[in-house]
């Protein structure tokens, strides 16, 4: 994963060992309040202390250091891509990641699948009164490490505190900007009949990792979230296939099925996939079976789906498989001019079934 840093931003600080949560200690002025109090969002001294002793040291960069009302950025010429996302995951820490890493990687990935090179992020925190400062620090550290990995800078931010009972500990919003790559015009409306459909790895890991630690459902498993920044891998795919990449998406909430349905609708095409070709970890498949869930609907946080001209399918597949985040990449299907706006799977039995978009969350079945 570290190789990504040098590929996308040679100057990024090294976090080879990752954030050290266990040995993190609260800088002295903050220790007066081991938990968040309303004053931390009040714009006074307490708020300033958070900035000076926590956010600034963790995210340090020239644009942020000015501590102005806005970060002033030099982005050069070209088209700007912008995206934003809010993060409300529970629990805040889960096997394979935390809300902090999700908040950075989620926005980085949204930019990357749009064909942009992510550059700068904002980070806004909505904290609940009483939230332990040590947990906030761990989250901030993980964001700093994730930003370094992805080669982006967090250049502006905000903190608000809500009364106890009015939040779920910590919510984070990130917005990001990136520079659109020249000659790349990916979009969900550009999938064409004949395109090969590729996925960069196993599906359902993030959603099942979260499920495994949800209150009332804890089950022992080795499942870890796939939370990762995909910009490095996507950069290499675009290098290799350029405009032959017609559409890219990171299948997060709603899983692979929702993403493929969205693209089928936006491009007014049909999509055929082969269920047998879908990469699913055995432990994810097993957990899904137990709970009556279908992995095609389970969230991912470190996977991308690619729609590429068929003659580039093998090239893209080999680029993906050579990358640490794409080792389990697979060609899972193709675009067709038939059954427009529908996703159809060939089952292991040789029959076909339509995979629709889910209405809401998947509901675990009774028996």
């Amino acid at each position: 994963m570290i190789s990504q840093v040098s590929e996308t931003r040679p100057g990024a600080p090294s976090h080879a060992t990752g954030p050290d949560f266990a040995n993190w200690s609260c800088p002295l002025p903050l220790a007066d309040y081991p938990e968040i109090v309303m004053g931390h969002g009040g714009g006074g001294k307490l708020g300033n202390e958070l900035v000076e002793h926590l956010f600034l040291p963790a995210f340090r960069n020239a644009a942020l250091e000015n501590l102005g009302d806005a970060a002033v950025l030099d982005i050069g010429a070209g088209k700007l891509a912008m995206s934003t996302d809010s993060f409300v995951v529970q629990p805040l820490f889960f096997p394979g990641g935390s809300i902090g890493e999700l908040a950075v990687n989620g926005t980085v990935n949204d930019l990357a699948v749009s064909g942009a090179v992510p550059k700068f992020l904002s980070a806004s925190f909505i904290l609940e009164e009483g939230f332990p400062l040590a947990q906030l620090a761990a989250i901030v550290e993980s964001m700093a490490a994730a930003a370094a990995m992805a080669g982006v800078q967090i250049v502006t931010g905000d903190t608000k505190v809500v009364e106890r009972g009015h939040g779920d500990g910590c919510y984070i919003n990130t917005a990001g900007v990136g520079l659109q790559r020249e000659g790349i015009a990916v979009g969900p409306h550009r999938a064409e009949p004949g395109d090969a459909v590729l996925v960069s790895g196993t599906i359902g890991d993030h959603g099942m990792a979260i499920m495994s630690v949800r209150e009332g459902l804890e089950f022992e498993s080795q499942i870890r979230s796939d939370c990762a920044a995909l910009n490095g891998m996507i950069f290499l795919v675009l290098d290799a296939a350029g405009d032959a990449v017609h559409a890219m998406r990171d299948p997060t909430r709603g899983g692979l099925a929702s993403t493929l349905n969205e693209i089928a609708t936006a491009s007014n095409v049909g999509i055929d996939i082969d269920e047998v070709a879908l990469p699913v970890r055995l432990e994810v498949q097993s957990a899904c079976e137990l709970l009556g869930l279908d992995p095609v609907y389970v969230a991912n946080e470190g996977k991308a789906v690619f729609f590429v001209a068929p003659e580039f399918a093998d090239v893209v597949l080999s680029v993906l498989r050579a990358h640490p985040l794409g080792r389990d990449a697979a060609r899972i299907g193709q675009v067709t001019s038939e059954h427009k706006r529908m996703l159809v799977a060939r089952t292991a039995m040789g029959s076909n079934r339509v995979i629709p978009t889910q209405i809401g969350e998947q509901l675990p079945r009774i028996c």
Partner: protein
């Protein structure tokens, strides 16, 4: 045994389907009793693999679907009360009552929680002594032992704030009701494998004999289902009417005796209303006198409930196998998983939802066209 692969072998499945086609000389109508089987049949396209004469009729074995509307309305009323923690399996949250569903009660401030075991609800009661914790105990014989266990645990722990809103239903009386109904077309049954895991299949030989109908205990994987169908067709072709076990790796004749003893200690047989079907005598369980104090219907005096089924919904005809979901005038129009008129459109085991989700709103020709030219077979 590799449950995720061994019983899902596509080649063997095709071979079994061909075998069924060779055996069948006449059309036969076979009902799979359990909603889990319906789900698997539709998900795996088993019905598409069968010869045209073999028709699967989807039975009333989805607990979510047959729970009476009045009880759903009671659940909504109890869940909306302050000081109540209302626990349920996830399926039940979106089942429409007369006015809204449990999700909406939750949205308005009701403390509605999804649990994965009724024993979790007992723990919740212990941790929250100032709250009334209610578990929505629906289901067939399969889920009954865990619900029985929950009230026993509550009694042993001396908990006064735990209760069960219970609506258990039983398979054998439902099968008899179907066989007795005028215009019945079902000629053979796939018995619900998980119900038989608990109860065994000693209850069924008298039914086979009295109604001269083959009954095959059947599992849920594609090969299990095809084997169950194959055995039912063989019996039908030979004019036999026996109870057969095609789920031997899980089900024993006597069933799980310990579970049955527990059930006998906690429940007693009662008449039950089945949503869309009506009252079937002796077709359910309720808490017996010793455990009645844990009955949520006793603890919460709910009155003034106005229960009204949608006039457009034909779920009852679907549940009795009289029509297929797509033959209901409201199917896919007024009634979709997003705006379900009846429970059969809600649960993933409900026949209407299974039809809708797996594309049974498409014509056969459209489905046949789908998936053409798929060349990808290798695993990544």
């Amino acid at each position: 045994m590799k449950y995720l692969t061994e019983f899902r072998n596509g080649e063997i499945a095709q071979r079994m389907a061909r075998e069924i086609a060779q055996i069948a000389t006449r059309p036969w109508k076979i009902m799979e009793v359990c909603g889990g089987q319906t789900h698997s049949i539709i998900k795996n396209g088993i019905d598409q693999m069968l010869p045209p004469g073999i028709e699967m009729i989807h039975g009333p074995g989805c607990p979510v679907c047959v729970t009476p509307l009045e009880l759903i309305d009671k659940a909504l009323a109890i869940a909306a009360q302050p000081g109540v923690i209302f626990c349920s399996f996830g399926d039940m949250l979106r089942v429409p009552g007369t006015e809204g569903d449990l999700f909406q009660v939750k949205g308005k401030g009701g403390d509605v929680r999804v649990v994965y075991s009724p024993l979790d609800a007992v723990d919740l009661a212990q941790k929250n002594p100032d709250k009334q914790v209610v578990f929505f105990g629906v289901g067939f014989e399969t889920t009954a032992p865990a619900n029985a266990m929950s009230v026993r645990a509550a009694k042993m722990r001396g908990l006064k704030n735990f209760s069960l809103l219970v609506s258990h239903v039983l398979v054998p009386p439902a099968i008899e009701a179907i066989l007795q109904s005028p215009g019945n077309q079902v000629q053979g049954f796939l018995l619900a494998g998980h119900v038989c895991t608990v109860m065994g299949y000693w209850e069924y030989p008298p039914i086979a004999e009295q109604y001269h109908v083959p009954l095959v205990v059947t599992g849920f994987e594609p090969l299990d289902l095809l084997d169950g169908i194959r055995r039912a067709v063989i019996q039908l072709e030979r004019g036999e009417a026996r109870v057969e076990n095609a789920y031997e790796r899980i089900v024993y004749y006597a069933g799980n005796l310990e579970a049955q003893q527990l059930l006998a200690r906690v429940f007693e047989v009662t008449d039950r209303a089945w949503r869309g079907i009506g009252v079937i005598p002796n077709s359910g369980w309720r808490l017996n006198a010793e455990y009645r104090e844990f009955d949520a219907e006793q603890r919460f005096q709910i009155s003034g409930i106005h229960t009204e089924e949608s006039a457009l919904c034909h779920a009852g005809d679907v549940l009795r196998g009289v029509i297929k979901p797509a033959q209901c005038p409201a199917f896919g129009k007024e009634c979709t998983p997003r705006h379900p008129l009846g429970a059969t459109m809600v649960s993933s085991e409900g026949a209407c939802a299974a039809y809708f989700n797996y594309g049974r709103f498409m014509s056969a020709e459209e489905l046949a066209g789908a998936g053409k030219g798929l060349a990808v077979t290798s695993h990544g």
